[in-house]
Amino acid sequence: MKKIYGRPKYLKARKFHYCPGCGHSLVHKLLMELMDELNIADRTIGVAPAGCAVLAYDYMDIDIVEAAHGRGPAVATGIKRSVPELVVFTYQGDGDLAAIGTAESIHAASRGEQIMTIFINNGIYGMTGGQMAPTTLEGMKATTAPKGRETRRDGHPLDLSSLLAQIPGVVYAERVSVNSPRGIRQTKKALEAGLRCQLDNEPGLALIEVLSMCPINWKLSPVDSCKWIDEVMSKKFPIKVLADRRIKTTRKAVSGSVD
């Protein structure tokens, strides 16, 4: 009998600690499928963030380094510059990438570091219990914005990916989501495109932003969380290719044109 679906080879046989309906486990799975499909598991180093995904090494059967909150791109820079033949990715949340690590994100991009940054955007600080994130939408409630984000008080939601996409050192930037089977398939394609940038020696950083569900802190059911990404979140953070400066593009972006 032919096996058509199973746990990816490089995903450890361990129960996820993530909450029901969370998007992290989906992205972990896709990433580990790609390790196998691209045959790069033994030459990849992942940089885990502070946040829910800090325990990435419990699930990903590849070399993983933990970084201080926001410092992933700097740690990844040190790794990649030391061993350029490695495939290096950072796995970061919205607080990590777009608040405490803004400088590290922008300057790794500006230097055109040959790494991939996976940016899990769920609009909230998950691990610490639902505080306001740089990407929390206007009006969206958080434990530190109890009446909902009010821009005069709390500032505007920050679309750091669009900012990063302006930087010449970013060779590829795409925003995807994992709230539907179609979105998950697209996310895998985007992650593959991001990893291939390093395999093709593209001269810069690949950024893949993933809109991801956090039902517990959104106080929505998993199903409603998926809907909320379609109906609300993706209006502020549109799903599309944000930049494509690849030279040796073997496969063009599928989800749409660059604008």
Partner: protein
Amino acid sequence: MTSPKKDKVLLSGNHAVAEAAIRAGCRFYFGYPITPQNEIAEYLSEHLPEAGGVFIQAESEISSINMVLGAAVTGARAMTSSSGPGISLKQEGISFLAGQELPAVIVNVMRGGPGLGNIAGCQGDYFQAVRGGGHGDYKTIVLAPGSVQELVDLTMLAFELADKYRNPVMILADGLIGQMREPVILPEPVRHFPDKEWALRGAKGRPSRFSRSLILNVRRMEEHNWKLQRKFREMDANEIRFERYLLDDAKLAVIAFGSAARVAKGAIKRLRKEGLKVGLFRPITVWPFPHKKIRELAGEINEFLVYELNAGQMLEDVKLALAGQGEIFFYGRPGGVIPTPMDVAKIIGSRYYQRIKRKAK
């Protein structure tokens, strides 16, 4: 062995530490400009790539220490350098290096503080350096050079100790030593490096591994802490370095480190000519601190004069070491003032006359 004369060159402290780092096998430098240590980065930006290494001027001190962590985790010898305000920013990364047991060398060319302070030589960062500096229970080996030659030698040693213990090592210099030019003999480049079977370079032919400092299980976290503490005790047992200068017949011992010790030595030379029996005890490792050696001194000498370019920091370690024995007099000059040997000789001399000559009468 090559002829030492051949390699004798006139170098500033900052250029010397940079050249010594290359000779120690450091191939990765990440830093951010701050006076009085900019010549380290400038030198390495030119000479590190020539040696096949990587130089990056990072966007911040925080980024540079984390780049060091990234290079260190792959098994490479990496360093960063800065001065007071920048070292404060690096403390987060230094704590992570200690927690993840990664080797790295951090150079602090101290300047006046607190805050932005000034750019003159100072020793106000002693506490920050020897008490850990960042969050959590950890120690870094701290080496305090008293000359440009010693800065070279201690830089070579710093990389060796960092690898030996898998722990960050700090070189605690200051603006005076960093900017001062002296003839130095440069050592031969290191050719043999320890195996780093713990390094992460992709899980080829072995199970995957990780480098982390997060340990949620409190028992395991405690275990990890005790493991680190055992390592720190081992450093304390094996790595203490100090200099005794004219102490054998001394009635008064000056205790000073780094630049202050250099100035004190000049003062002691003058006073010896006048017949005063004074000597110098100079800790070279300020962590681990030579507590025992100072305690032993108290058997021979009753009068101690602690001299620092701060308001009294190493003084606390001397008090701990002496544990109530002997008389301690403190002379401190914070804020970047560097007294001349003549000034210091006056202080030591007057204390000597008050406590020793008067008693003798």
